[in-house]
């Protein structure tokens, strides 16, 4: 009991003491603050005056430099032609008494070495400021990405489903590593063919930029064939259309081409006159077929075979500004690991040609690939298949209507296509409309008609709506 009583009394006393102290403190502090407020006001006033003085001095330095730069003996600092004419106007525009109104003769009398010293000091200050800002920026890595959801009488990627669907949540990470070292990671949460959400490191590449015309990447990247696969990535908000052409979809979404490669990639561009030549050369693990889907062998493969390829493009100028044309080729050796051992192997050789006309009004893309495949184990010989698409879009403010025709004619006697779930021949026509809700989100509506023409014969119509954002 005694203990209990003590417990009750002690806190009471403590609280009383605390309240008393608080009241006392508040009274004292309020009294002191009343005296301080005048002092603080005076200090603020002095600070304002100091800032004003700093601004005036900065302006003075700039004016002196500008005037010295105009003087013939000290014309070391180049200016734009337009700006050269602007400097006298500066003085004219400045109110009397301001540094800018200083007579040019006075500036001419300034010694060149003084101007140089001023320039050096200013350069140093600028560099220090930039450096400080840089360090502050480097403290964190910004998180950006894309997401999309949809609804339709079919799922845009897996047509066996219908209703509402979650597309993907794509995180894009580009840590800053230095002036020449590059890194790029794309972590994608997406719904697979089984309806479950999976996580995929879609791209993980680390590179070094030797110059503007040469960057080498190592890791997992989008295989640089054709135009679409490297112009558009997983962020659907960027693309005009609601989805990629079916045959160049990503592997786990029904694509029949190796959209990803794990290996090395040299890429760059170089001016040739007013035009620009772009190039890509790559080598990596050859892919395999597993579960009826192409797999890019992230961990390497067991037989050491490779995919090798290249892409050469040209960006036109002048009247053809916005037009890019190019050719590409790759060769790989694909094992079908679903088949009984020994796994059938196919040498896949693809030749591509593409053209893209991308202006403020038009976005037109055409891409065509020929596959010249060799059965390396089944003795069925050589098979030739092809696939291509043409897409036209017109940007009319926030609306972009588009149309696309695509087709894939795949030899079913070719094990490479026969072993893939989506390796059947097809053609699809689509009409769509993209509406930019704002700068970061868009609504897309697509009506499509797909015909399957060999493995199974049939067709289905789709009405799809997608809401895509970036952040």
């Amino acid at each position: 009991m005694g203990t209990t009583t003590s417990r009750r009394v002690t806190p009471g006393r403590a609280w009383a003491g605390v309240l008393l102290a608080a009241c006392l403190g508040h009274t004292l502090v309020t009294y002191a603050a009343a005296g301080d407020s005048d002092r603080i006001a005076a200090l603020e006033h002095k600070l304002d005056q100091s800032l004003q003085l700093i601004r005036q001095l900065s302006a003075r330095v700039h004016d002196l430099e500008a005037q010295v730069a105009q003087a013939p003996p000290a014309a070391a600092k180049p200016t734009s032609p337009g700006a050269a004419a602007a400097a006298p106007a500066t003085a004219a525009a400045a109110p009397p008494g301001t540094p800018a109104a200083t007579q040019p003769g006075a500036a001419a009398a300034t010694a060149p070495d003084t101007a140089q010293r001023l320039a050096r000091v200013e350069q140093t200050v600028t560099e220090m400021a930039a450096s400080a800002g840089q360090h502050a920026e480097d403290l964190g890595m910004p998180m950006h990405g894309f997401a999309d959801v949809g609804v339709g009488n079919h799922n845009a990627e897996f047509h066996q489903y219908q209703g509402a669907d979650v597309g993907e949540l794509d995180f894009f990470l580009t840590p800053r590593l230095g002036s020449r070292t590059r890194a790029l990671f794309e972590l994608n949460f997406e719904v697979g063919s089984d309806g479950a959400v999976g996580v995929d490191l879609e791209r993980a590449q680390i590179g070094y930029q030797f110059s503007d015309s040469a960057t080498v990447w190592l890791g997992r990247f989008h295989t640089p064939y054709g135009y679409y696969n490297t112009a558009f990535h997983h962020g659907q908000q960027i693309a005009t259309s609601l989805r990629r052409p079916r045959f160049i979809e990503f592997e786990d979404h029904g694509g029949i081409m190796p959209a990803h490669t794990v290996g090395a990639w040299l890429t760059g561009s170089q001016r040739v006159g007013d035009d620009k030549v772009t190039y890509d050369v790559f080598i990596g693990n050859s892919q395999r077929i597993q579960g009826g889907i192409l797999d890019m062998n992230n961990a390497g493969n067991t037989h050491g075979s490779t995919i090798v390829g290249g892409n050469l493009g040209m960006l036109m100028s002048g009247a053809l500004d916005g037009l890019k044309v190019g050719v590409d080729v790759f060769q790989t050796r694909i094992l079908d690991e679903d088949a009984p051992s020994p796994a059938p192997a196919t040498r896949v050789r693809s030749y591509g040609v593409y053209a893209a006309y991308d202006t403020d009004a038009w976005e037109d893309i055409a891409e065509f690939h020929v596959f010249d495949n060799d059965d390396l184990t089944g003795h069925t010989g050589t098979h030739r298949s092809d696939a291509g698409f043409v897409q036209m879009g017109y940007r009319a403010g926030r609306y972009t209507p588009y149309a696309r025709y695509e087709r894939g004619a795949f030899q079913q006697s070719d094990h490479f296509f026969a072993a893939q779930i989506n390796g059947e021949s097809y053609y699809r026509t689509a009409l769509g409309l993209r509406f930019d809700v704002d700068l970061v989100s868009s609504l897309k509506l697509e009506l499509a008609d797909t015909h399957l023409t060999d493995r199974v014969t049939g067709s289905y119509d789709e009405a799809l709506l997608q809401y895509a954002i970036r952040f």
Binding site: T10, P11, A14, V18, A21, G25, H26, V29, T30, A33, S37, I40, S58, A59, H62, E65, A66, A69, K77, P78, T79, S80, P81, G82, A83, A84, A86, A87, A89, T90, A92, A93, A94, A100, T126, A129, A130, Q134, E137, H144, F172, S179, L184, D212, T230, A231, H233, I238, R271, D274, G318, D321, G322, T359, D360, E363, R395, D436, D438, L439
Partner: protein, 202 residues
């Protein structure tokens, strides 16, 4: 067994009563401290207003679309309209450019003048020739329009100072339609978004 458990639990609680009591006293002290701190008018840091961006505070050395050096300091004495863009942008930048042209027409109608600066987001891809081509195809050839190329550091520093938020997604640059207006003394006096035509006095 249950009783035994309860008993041991009680014992356990009792064991912890004293420290709790001490903690309560410490808590009281903390509350008191908080009260004192709250009562002090001068304890909270004075809100420091970041100084408004000024042209004079930006990196000075740029190149224009003719490949010539361009000194930003020579803009002093001129009203300046400034934005950032990239040459292969076909969805957002055209909106900004149309807005700039609209502003230019408005200045012409009023008989006032301004220098228009367009700073490239992506110096890796947008060189002088790219901007030259951009100007020619879009008929943006007036002498008071300057398309500027800087180092990546200068571009990032400028964007940071002026509040242009951007990030790169491969060859795409994610950005907005911000337009800034500086007066003849190089002070920022107005910020606009070309897309929504909102105007925000500084």
């Amino acid at each position: 067994m249950q009783t035994g458990h309860r008993g041991s639990f009680d014992t356990h609680c009792r064991r912890w009563r004293r420290p709790r009591k001490r903690l309560r006293s410490a808590g009281s002290l903390l509350v008191a401290l908080q009260l004192l701190i709250a009562a002090l008018p001068g304890v909270w840091p004075t809100r420091v207003w970041a100084s408004a961006p000024q042209l004079a505070g930006l990196p000075a050395a740029w190149r224009d679309d003719r490949g010539q050096p361009f000194d930003l300091r020579t803009m002093r004495g001129h009203a300046v309209v400034l934005t950032m863009a990239y040459a292969t942008c076909h969805r957002v930048c055209p909106v900004t450019m149309r807005r700039l042209q609209q502003m230019q027409r408005e200045f012409d109608r009023r008989g006032t003048s301004a220098e228009f600066l367009v700073i490239g987001y992506d110096p890796d891809h947008d060189d002088a020739q790219a901007w030259r081509q951009y100007r020619e195809t879009r008929h943006l050839m007036r002498d008071n329009w300057h398309f500027l190329i800087g180092t990546r550091t200068a571009v990032e520093q400028t964007a940071r100072q002026l509040g242009f938020e951007f990030w790169k997604y491969d060859e795409h640059v994610m950005h907005d339609t911000r337009i800034l207006y500086f007066d003849e003394r190089g002070r920022l006096v107005e910020t606009r978004q070309a897309a929504g035509y909102e105007t925000t006095p500084r």
